[in-house]
């Protein structure tokens, strides 16, 4: 009986997600492609994926890592390097005689590779870094992200990374649109595909969290000493979590490259990591659903809803004070402070979407 109710909650959640996808698909066909909504959805999908993979590390395993920007950078570069069309390479690598990589991979293969390379780097970094705890680990991973950013701009690596110049002309989200022979778009998929990719990746993360490995990771977060005494190999499982998280962060990086249409190492600053961290904290450390919701809210607020704060606004003849370039960030900071002070557990706490349906039923069950 109990098990059946649980499945019911899961089915309801799956239906909601499915409805959202259908809604996006319909909206994409009806609304103009330049609508701000799609920008938000595309970037939101990217950030949601990265935030959930950060949550896997910070919220479920208790490893406080701040290396996200570094792994996203690796993912973005790997994707870009291997997907720029051959005939365009001369233009992109104009200072490096077309670069050394002279083949291209299909988009999804390149995305997978982006994840794998990021995971490989995570493995290497993890060997020394995962011996550290809490703040020290955070500082070490932050340092790693900064170092990676510098290395990718290094002139000597130019034939591969194009030095400090940007990579461009690789396939972007818009290439997912299905066009007819004249080049006109017949079916718009440029928003749906990134959402699907992010959805599949997040579903995989959820499956990992719900497996025996996920439980082992959660036990490490709860009590390392007890977890180790109960036969869970700390080093192995922490490394596993770090690599898996970085794998999906790498894929997120590839998606960010597609969203931005260009890749340049200097844009992957630690501020990007903090944005992700913010999303995780606002959504609820330890809630996948929370991370997803807050990723879209965060992107919508910063790219769309709060934009007006950066421009002069007139009400009648009266000019609203304080509104100028950069004021948006002030408002943002205030919102964050409010969240930290009054909603310490974030939007969702540690709850997930199915829990919202389950709670009512459980309360009813207890009454009987």
């Amino acid at each position: 009986m109990k098990e059946k109710k649980l499945t019911l909650a899961n089915v309801a959640s799956a239906l909601i997600v499915l409805c959202l996808y259908v809604a996006v698909f319909i909206a994409e066909q009806k609304l103009p492609a330049t609508s701000m909504l799609f920008t938000v959805l595309k970037k939101g999908a990217t950030y949601a994926l990265v935030a959930v993979s950060m949550n896997l590390l910070n919220g479920f395993t208790g490893i406080f890592s701040l290396g996200q920007a570094g792994f996203m950078l690796i993912g973005a570069y790997v994707y870009a390097i291997f997907t720029i069309p051959l005939e365009q390479r001369v233009n992109v690598y104009q200072y490096y005689a077309g670069g050394v990589v002279q083949f291209t991979l299909p988009v999804f293969v390149a995305m997978l590779l982006a994840g794998l390379v990021a995971a490989f780097f995570a493995f290497l970094i993890g060997l020394p870094v995962l011996r550290l705890k809490s703040d020290y680990l955070a500082i070490a991973t932050l340092g790693f992200a900064e170092i990676i950013r510098a290395i990718f701009q290094w002139n000597q690596l130019g034939p591969v990374t194009n030095g400090s110049n940007m990579l461009r002309l690789f396939p972007t989200f818009n290439d997912f649109n299905i066009r007819n022979a004249d080049g006109n778009v017949t079916v718009y998929l440029s928003t749906l595909v990134p959402l699907l990719v992010a959805g599949v990746c997040i579903a995989l993360i959820v499956m990992i969290i719900n497996s025996t490995y996920g439980r082992a990771l959660r036990s490490i977060k709860d009590d390392e000493v007890a977890a180790e005494a109960m036969g869970i190999n700390l080093a192995h499982h922490k490394r596993l979590a770090f690599c898996v998280s970085s794998f999906f962060t790498g894929i997120g990086g590839a998606m960010l490259a597609m969203y931005q249409t260009t890749v340049q190492a200097k844009s992957f600053t630690s501020a990007m990591t903090y944005e992700i961290l913010l999303i995780v904290v606002i959504g609820g450390v330890g809630s996948v659903t929370g991370s997803c919701i807050s990723a879209f809210l965060f992107v919508a607020a910063s790219e769309w809803w709060l934009r007006f704060l950066d421009e002069k606004q007139m009400i009648g003849n009266w000019e609203v004070p304080l509104l100028r370039n950069g004021f948006r960030l002030v408002v943002f900071s205030i919102i964050i402070m409010i969240v930290v002070l009054f909603f310490r557990r974030g939007i969702m706490g540690t709850k997930e979407l199915p829990d919202l349906f389950r709670r009512k039923k459980k309360a009813g069950g207890e009454l009987k």
Partner: protein
């Protein structure tokens, strides 16, 4: 014969800086026994436990589990000069052997903690389910894609069986830390049992329990010992419990063994009475 002790501690010394917490302590436990380790506060009981479970590496000495050496060490480096324990040269010629706590648990030694250490973010059910991870046969990918359904089902069934033993099956979805204290103790014991141990180490299982609960706990320990064919090694302060269930008792004070024997011998041992009551210098 002497090779087939379940647990065999030989000349164990644990020294932290200048403090000798356990000094030249030897003991053994045979199959199916309940052996207690008692002593006044700070005598080094938990330190000995931590050495057995490899939380600490012995400063000197050797620990064997079912004839296999699970830890062996001798003083090295600076410790050579300041070492104050007994038999400093006994193991010098033999290689150092060390394991991590999880490896020890996989070999079949499981433990509980003096201050309860349940997984606070998990339900009662998850606490017991989680620790079966160490006996899993699936690898990361089969587990991540949920292709190990049979194993998962088996884990869940075993969890329910264990919960039924202590009557927690109706509280399975409660958070573990919201249980009353006594129930948390029981949960911690069955969580240890979920790792399929041969030797169960209980660190003050009756701490904070009233006399009635202590009696029930004594019966419970004997019950699970029979049911799971365990050997039990227990640290305890409650003399009712210790005298009631132990086959043999070791007494240590200031890290040194002062007595060993069956409960009736210990009760009448002058050195033990002195250690507990203060002895001559009063």
């Amino acid at each position: 014969m002497s090779q087939e002790h379940v647990l065999d501690i030989r000349h164990l010394t644990m020294q932290f800086g200048g403090v000798v917490a356990v000094n030249d302590f030897s003991m053994h436990i045979d199959d199916g026994e309940i052996v207690a380790l008692i002593g006044p506060n700070g005598a080094g009981k938990t330190t000995a436990f931590n050495a057995v479970t490899s939380v600490y590496e012995p400063t000197n000495g050797e620990i064997l589990f079912e004839g296999e050496t699970i830890a062996r060490s001798h003083p090295t480096g600076k410790m050579k000069k300041i070492f104050a324990g007994g038999h400093p040269d006994a193991f010098v010629s033999q290689p150092i052997i060390r394991h991590t706590p999880d490896e020890i648990t996989k070999k079949g030694i499981s433990r509980t903690f003096q201050n309860i250490r349940l997984f606070s973010g998990m339900t009662v059910f998850e606490n017991v389910l989680t620790v079966q991870h160490l006996r899993k046969k699936s690898n990361f990918f089969t587990a991540a894609f949920h292709l190990n359904g049979a194993e998962e089902k088996q884990m869940r069934e075993k969890t329910m069986e264990l919960l039924k033993i202590v009557g927690l099956q109706d509280l399975r979805d409660e958070m573990a830390t919201s249980l009353p204290y006594g129930k948390q103790r029981l949960l911690e014991i069955i969580r240890a049992l979920a790792t399929d141990p041969k030797l169960l180490l209980l660190d003050e299982p009756a701490a904070g329990m009233n006399p009635q609960e202590t009696l029930e706990l004594a019966a419970f320990i004997q019950d699970i010992k029979r049911k799971f064919q365990l050997t039990v090694f227990v640290i305890e302060h409650h003399m009712d419990l210790v005298m009631g269930i132990s086959d043999r008792i070791y007494v240590i004070d200031f890290g040194k063994q002062i007595a060993e024997g069956v409960p009736s011998e210990i009760q009448n041992n002058q050195a033990v009475i002195d250690a507990y009551l203060g002895g001559d210098d009063l």
